[in-house]
């Protein structure tokens, strides 16, 4: 039997009191795609960072191809034949593809010989693995799918035999993701070993040969992919049975609550971000906005939430909302019963260094019940926070804790509680479950559905197509500042939506 490409024996790593990896052992067979799945904070990234020399393990051994190997830094990892494609690409944006590939792997003090050699090797690699990129394009001129290819090529150029991909599909459209998996198949066929880190069950089921599950710093199981199911993996990840589908009754759409007509937004740099949006949001219905990040979804949320000015018409219950100047700000929107859970809770939803009870006041600090004469009634506010924390199962339920001390899921619950508990007519919610663990996702989804069932309108923006398909009742796909098409969720599928996300127009429904 051949030695495992990678074998980790008893790896442990602590950050202060937090034990990120506890006695982890894993064997990865050469020429396979090995998935590692787990919730956020389960320790996947820490483990891979140890393998790539970013951190040093407190205990444990790393064996590569049957040889005990010390990996104190990235240099050693590269020498051991390990290449890593990070979730956030490590590319120099204003360098060309060629310069990025050569960086750190130059042949001598002068650049020209290295560059022409790389150009030649790049051609060979492109032919061998069907990884075509234009070597002279700058990184900021090519799309994310291409950028990811550059990362893979960087690893291959350094003669990596073992490729680690950390959440590689997070930024890709479904067709781009399919293409990535074809490339991975090809790499496997050429004898490369691939470790795929993800939290998406579907990718694990589709792409991997073997899968290891991590939970709270421990490796809970390693199974053959063909012998397991998504439900079983989810249970292993969370440690209890979870509902993968959102439990909801069919929507009963009522009267239109929000009518958007020819909405345009031009950003600070003069770029037109929304190019005439028409959209109607009905009572008792969740409208999902799908699309690859950066196609105008953020601007749509911001203009509706009063964080950005625009042109066109937005009517809320028949009344025009000002889109510029007085009355178009976030405070006016809140007064008009528009609640907003922003996409980035850490920079826009919360102030990370403030206590939970202070964060619960934001946006509603003018509310009469929080006032006591000229001062704020902090005692009332804290009591209110405790009540909200209890209702939304925020852990730990301590109003005096700073926002940054909560986990991602609990931070999001604080924001969602603040906004939903105001009983809004329209709830704007962006990326509600980004960086949130499965248990909290289930809870937050339930709250959104409950608000829908009270007859409110909900606009859900998410880059996770799965989330939109399971939570929304209707879906509109955005591409390049326009709506490519609108569908009832049960009359469409990922394939059709994926095409629209890539800019292929859908027929008008």
């Amino acid at each position: 039997m051949t030695a495992p490409a990678i074998e980790l024996k008893g790896i442990s790593k602590s950050f202060g009191p937090v034990q990120a990896n506890k006695d982890i052992s894993i064997r990865v067979a050469p020429g396979t795609i090995h998935g590692i799945i787990g919730e956020n904070g389960a320790g996947k990234s820490t483990l891979m960072s140890i393998l790539y020399g970013f951190y040093k393990a407190d205990k444990g051994e790393i064996w590569i191809n049957g040889n005990r190997t010390e990996i104190p830094d990235s240099q050693a990892a590269i020498a051991a034949g390990i290449g890593m494609v990070f979730q956030h690409f490590k590319l120099v944006e204003n360098f060309t593809v060629l310069e990025n590939i050569v960086l750190g792997a130059e042949d001598g003090g002068l650049l020209m010989p290295s560059l022409s050699k790389a150009r030649k090797i790049l051609k060979e690699l492109a032919a061998e693995y069907e990884l075509h990129v234009d070597p002279d394009k700058r990184i900021d001129e090519i799309g994310v799918g291409m950028q990811q290819r550059v990362e893979i090529l960087k690893a291959l150029y350094r003669q990596a035999d073992i490729l680690i991909l950390d959440e590689p599909t997070g930024v890709l459209t479904p067709p781009e993701a399919d293409q990535l998996f074809r490339i991975l198949d090809r790499l496997r066929a050429e004898g490369k070993t691939i470790i795929l880190i993800t939290h998406k069950l579907r990718e694990i089921m589709d792409a991997t040969d073997t899968v290891s599950v991590m939970r709270r710093g421990q490796m809970t199981a390693t199974v053959k992919t063909s012998e397991t199911s998504p439900e079983h993996l989810a249970e292993l990840m969370v440690g209890r049975k979870v509902l993968l589908r959102v439990d909801k009754v069919p929507a009963k759409p009522g009267k239109p609550i929000v009518e958007i007509e020819q909405l345009r937004v031009v950003d600070e740099a003069g770029v037109e971000r929304l190019k005439g949006i028409d959209l109607t949001l009905r009572a008792g219905e969740i409208m999902g906005i799908a699309g690859v990040a950066g196609n105008g979804q953020s601007e749509l949320l911001e203009v509706l939430g009063g964080m950005r000015s625009g042109e066109g018409v937005i009517r809320l219950n028949g009344v025009d909302l000002p889109l510029q100047g007085a009355g178009s700000d976030a405070r006016a929107r809140r007064a008009a019963h528009v609640a907003h859970v922003p996409e980035d809770r850490q920079s826009e939803g919360l102030i990370m260094g403030f206590h939970a009870w202070e964060n619960v006041a934001f946006g509603y600090h003018h509310a009469p019940e929080y006032q006591k004469g000229l001062l704020m009634d902090n005692a009332v506010l804290r009591a209110d926070t405790e009540a909200k924390m209890a209702k939304f199962d925020v852990r730990p339920p301590d109003p005096w804790l700073e926002a940054k001390s909560f986990s991602g899921g609990n931070q999001q619950k604080i924001v969602v509680a603040r906004e939903i508990e105001r009983n809004p007519e329209l709830l704007l919610i962006g990326q509600p479950t980004r960086g949130v663990d499965i248990g909290a996702i289930e809870f937050i989804h339930k709250q959104i559905v409950a608000l829908r069932d009270q007859g409110k309108a909900i606009l859900l923006v998410s880059v996770e197509l799965e989330e939109i398909l399971s939570l929304a009742d209707r879906v509109a796909v955005m591409f390049d500042g326009r709506i490519m098409g609108e569908r009832a969720v049960d009359e469409t599928d990922e394939k059709e939506l994926g095409l629209m996300m890539a800019g292929v127009a859908g027929e008008v429904a």
Binding site: L103, A105, L111
Partner: protein, 321 residues
């Protein structure tokens, strides 16, 4: 303005642009590597003092130059320690260095030389003398070419030629060598450099060291070539004007030379035309002296366009979890 006056103004432009150019290139290396440095001023001042002090004591200008470079590099090391090793705030570290240099130079000068915070005036051997080009004297009277060759091109100190040669050298290092590629990369995205197996800390310290070297030469030039000895605050904001030139040049070497020549011209004009009579109104000398600084603000505010600094400038590198 006659031809000879023009040549004289341009000649003094070159001499006044030299310290700006050296400091500007110093800042270029540092900031391209992602370390903002508003301490150029302080480093120049420290170098000016130590070069003048050592040159005056030993009578050897080259020893003076070395002392100036050493003093400047010491401060660079301090800036590197604070902002690279300890990940401190780069602006605060730079400000501290400026204060340190302003106070320390005068204090030590008073203690050593007891001349009210200045060094003794340097004699000929304590200064960088002019280098005369071959035939400079014999062609002096040839019309047009003569003055250009013997006044404008010939007759500067060696440090002037060094400064202007540093421009193509910097361009070549930046765009044609491995070191330059890595230097530019570390200022844009240090994580890319780190994951490629290259030391971010090593690169940044190298950049800061080059910055110290060039600032040291700039300071020594001020005290031992442009003038003859150190006086209190003799850098007079040149470190900041160099920073302005760097932004104006958008962190590129050839453009940096252009910007420094422009600021040098402004200073030369102010020196040359002290009181200007405009009909019945006389523009006082103070206005002319202030002109380069005022124009610095105007140019930066109005004519630069969008200057995008190196993307990771000012941020200490921390590996993300």
């Amino acid at each position: 303005m006659d031809f000879i006056t023009l040549i004289q103004v341009l000649d003094s432009t070159v001499r006044l642009a030299t310290p700006l150019l050296l400091a500007c290139l110093a800042g270029l290396y540092s900031e391209r590597a992602g370390i903002f440095d508003i301490g150029l001023e302080g480093k120049m001042l420290m170098a000016a003092f130590f070069s003048a002090a050592v040159a005056s004591v030993t009578g050897n200008v080259w020893l003076g130059l070395l002392a100036g470079i050493a003093a400047s590099m010491l401060l660079s090391g301090l800036h590197g320690l604070a902002s690279i090793t300890f990940r401190g705030n780069q602006l605060i570290s730079g400000v501290a260095i400026n204060f340190l240099a302003a106070g320390l130079t005068v204090l030590i000068a008073q203690d050593w030389f007891k001349q009210g915070g200045r060094t003794p005036s340097l004699l000929t051997e304590g200064r960088f003398g002019p280098l005369t080009f071959p035939f400079a004297d014999s062609v002096r009277d040839v019309p047009m070419f003569g003055p250009i060759y013997s006044e404008l091109l010939s007759g500067h100190s060696i440090l002037v030629y060094l400064a202007f040669l540093a421009v193509p050298a910097t361009w070549w290092i930046l765009y044609r060598t491995r070191f330059g590629l890595r230097l530019r990369a570390v200022g844009e995205n240090p994580a890319a450099v780190d994951t490629a197996g290259v030391s971010v800390i090593g690169l940044r310290f190298a950049a800061v060291a080059i910055c110290g070297l060039l600032c040291g030469i700039a300071g020594a030039y001020l005290a031992t070539a442009l003038q003859a000895g150190f006086v209190k605050d003799m850098t007079a904001g040149r470190g900041f004007i160099a920073l302005a030139a760097l932004i104006f040049a958008k962190w590129r070497p050839w453009q940096a030379m252009g910007a420094c020549l422009l600021f040098g011209l402004l200073q030369a004009v102010a020196l040359r035309f002290q009181n200007i009579e405009l009909g019945s109104v006389t523009i006082p000398v103070q206005v002319m002296d202030a002109l380069p600084y005022i124009l610095t603000v105007v140019i930066l505010a109005g004519f630069v366009g969008k200057a995008i600094p190196p993307r990771s400038g000012g941020e200490p590198y921390v590996k993300e979890r």
